[in-house]
């Protein structure tokens, strides 16, 4: 492969990896606090994408309004999901919580199927985000720069929030020891709701960008990206924010390069992430970055 070709694939990989990273952050935050794999997390990509279609195509809102509205509603739905399905199970065995998450995921997907139909809808990408340009003979879609850019800004904001603010300190305390945090007079329920709002909003951004990149929106849009983002979170060390970003980028780049180098294997692309997951769990279960102790890993 030529250097130009490699660079081209690398750009594609980074753009895909940034999307995984955005979604992986939500998994890792919820896992850090509730020790729950939020199976329904991936479906918020789909929710945001449909909301984007409504805002842009049905109500013909200007794109900033439509996209922000989609994100706000997605974030609130995330909090609602926690309130309705996960909070009643806070003291239940963890497997029950996981089963509830699977149920919630199927509920979201099939509600979309019932109300919006199974036929994929085109996503009306605003003109600002479309198009491409050429640099050094490389063909770069505008989105391929936009996606990592947006990811970078959001992550910087999130890292600031978690690392430098009082709310962030409370979040870290909660991840470390929930009961002690509660004893200190911190409103744990509000913090958990905030986590879900943040996570779902980031997933929503991921969903909107995903829908611009692959402009066919169907009720099951979020399933595969969701699973892969979760794998990215494990790859980086679940519970670790920086790890989720690293894991997302690694997974995205590897996936794209695998297909570029071995075109004959492109059909196996979706299996690759899972095989990588098994290898990581065997060799380095704490992930690439993580040093977190995982209590239920023997």
């Amino acid at each position: 492969m030529t250097w130009a070709g490699f660079a081209q694939q690398l750009i594609n990989g980074i753009s895909l990896g940034s999307l995984y990273a955005l979604v992986a952050i939500g998994y890792t935050m919820v896992y850090g606090i509730l020790r729950l794999i939020n199976f329904a997390h991936g479906d918020f990509l789909m929710v945001a994408a449909y909301l984007g279609i409504f805002g842009l195509a049905m109500f013909s809102l200007p794109w900033p309004v439509a996209l922000v509205a989609a994100l706000v509603i997605t974030g609130l739905m995330g909090a609602l999901l926690e309130r309705g399905a996960y909070r009643p199970l806070r003291r239940a065995p963890r497997l029950s919580l996981l089963i509830a998450a699977i149920g919630a995921s199927f509920l979201l997907e099939n509600l979309a199927l019932v109300f919006l139909g199974g036929r994929p809808l085109p996503f009306p990408t605003p003109a600002v985000f479309a198009g491409s340009f050429q640099v050094f003979g490389l063909y770069i879609p505008r989105l391929s720069l936009l996606i990592p850019g947006v990811t970078l800004i959001l992550l910087a904001g999130l890292f600031y929030l978690v690392g430098r603010t009082r709310v962030g300190m409370a979040l870290r305390a909660l991840a470390h020891d929930g009961e002690a945090t509660q004893l200190l007079g911190i409103n744990v329920n509000r913090l958990i709701s905030l986590t879900f709002v943040l996570g779902s909003t980031l997933a929503g951004v991921g969903g909107l960008l995903w829908a611009m990149k692959y402009p066919q929106v169907n009720p099951f849009l979020g399933v595969l990206p969701g699973l892969k983002a979760f794998i990215a979170a494990v790859l980086g060390g679940i519970g670790n924010l920086a790890g989720a970003v690293v894991g997302g980028l690694v997974l995205g780049v590897l996936e794209v390069l695998l297909v570029a180098w071995f075109p004959a294997w492109s059909g196996y692309r979706d299996a690759f992430a899972f095989i990588l997951l098994i290898i990581v769990l065997l060799i380095r279960p704490t992930g690439l970055v993580g040093e977190t102790v995982m209590e239920d890993k023997l």
């Binding site: 794998i231 059909g267 997951l277």
Partner: protein
């Protein structure tokens, strides 16, 4: 053998006889629709009971039964098709050699389906059973995905996305219910044995079980292999019931349905799983109404595809939030219990 145990065996024997008579009646008088429903019920009992061995009895969340079902279905289907039929369906690329000339009778094909699933479980068990909890769930979920991708891409073995068509409908009441009874007997026997008690100890507290000298890996692997075998056989039965299989047939949706069944029945209860299978498979048929167009004479309500899954997802959520123990919890139906109830003796007397 004491007297009550002799009675229990007689009762079990008599109820099996009753099942036989019912099936015989169905064999002669039931229409195609009910035959199919009865067969589906039996195959789902096999799947749910063997799935419950891992999720309920061992307490490990396994999300990949569809992988084993797919393996069993493809293996059995490839073995019962005659070489000529196989040549006719593999249009894009011919089938690889030993499979292309091999044709086995149905029972042997079923057995082979089960054994291939066991082999897969054995090979994957070593890495996978080292992790627990959420990780086990996501890795096993990955099995289903990996197997689906393989079924889609290994053109020379699975015929790719076109799948296998025109299987002879060998699955009848006797095969499906025979396997179901065998599965239930095996899983119940296993649950009562020393191995089963060790598995339940692992579910209750793995560290404590270890301290008592139970090796979790060995017991979980055994459960994993037994469960894989019956899931594989069930896959073979399902393939020869539907007669057409493709990579999209056994998705995570199948796992989801099995999960609802065992949660409804009570995680860990074999008799609960049977009861819940009957409720869910028959309920699923009755609910078909909501997806079909309704005619009110003057106006017509269009059917809503997917509504049944919405109902079932809500059911799963409601069950897990408000009624986590399911219908039977970890309790098993037993003749002893029935006799006590009939005679009005208190429990445990």
């Amino acid at each position: 053998m004491d007297k009550s145990s002799w009675w229990h065996r007689l009762c079990t024997f008599l109820s099996l006889g009753l099942l036989f008579l019912l099936l015989l009646a169905a064999h002669y008088w039931a229409g195609d629709y009910y035959l199919r429903l009865l067969n589906t019920t039996a195959v789902f009992i096999t799947m749910a009971v063997s799935y419950n061995l891992i999720n309920g009895i061992c307490g490990q969340l396994h999300l990949g039964p569809n992988a084993f079902v797919t393996l069993g279905a493809y293996t059995a289907a490839l073995l019962t098709l005659t070489p000529a039929e196989k040549q006719a369906s593999f249009l894009i690329a011919p089938l690889v050699w030993p499979l292309s000339d091999l044709a086995l009778p149905f029972p042997l094909a079923l057995l082979a389906g089960g054994l291939v699933a066991v082999l897969f479980a054995y090979l994957t068990g070593f890495p996978v059973l080292r992790v627990r909890g959420d990780y086990l769930a996501i890795v096993t979920l990955g099995f289903g995905e990996v197997i689906r991708v393989l079924a889609n891409n290994l053109q020379t073995v699975t015929n790719g996305p076109m799948g296998l068509k025109g299987l002879t409908p060998y699955t009848n009441l006797w095969w499906s219910w025979g396997v179901a009874v065998l599965t239930v007997a095996t899983v119940m026997g296993l649950k009562k044995s020393g191995f089963g008690r060790a598995m339940q100890a692992i579910r209750a507290d793995e560290t404590a079980a270890r301290a008592m000298g139970i090796e979790p890996f060995r017991h979980l692997l055994l459960a994993f292999l037994v469960s894989a075998f019956f899931l594989g056989v069930a896959g073979g039965l399902l393939a020869h019931l539907i007669t057409t299989i493709s990579p999209t047939l056994f998705t995570f949706f199948l796992t989801f349905n099995l999960l609802i069944i065992i949660v409804l029945g009570g995680l860990g209860s074999t008799t609960g799983a049977i009861l819940a299978t009957i409720i869910i498979t028959w309920g699923n048929e009755w609910l078909r109404v909501v997806e079909e167009p309704l005619d009110f004479g003057t106006f017509r309500l269009p059917g809503i595809p997917g509504l049944r899954t919405v109902i079932f997802s809500l059911l799963l959520l409601v069950l897990i939030i408000f009624y986590r123990r399911g219908l039977l919890g970890r309790w098993e139906f037993s003749w002893d219990w029935l006799f006590r109830k009939i005679q009005g003796r208190p429990d445990g007397g």
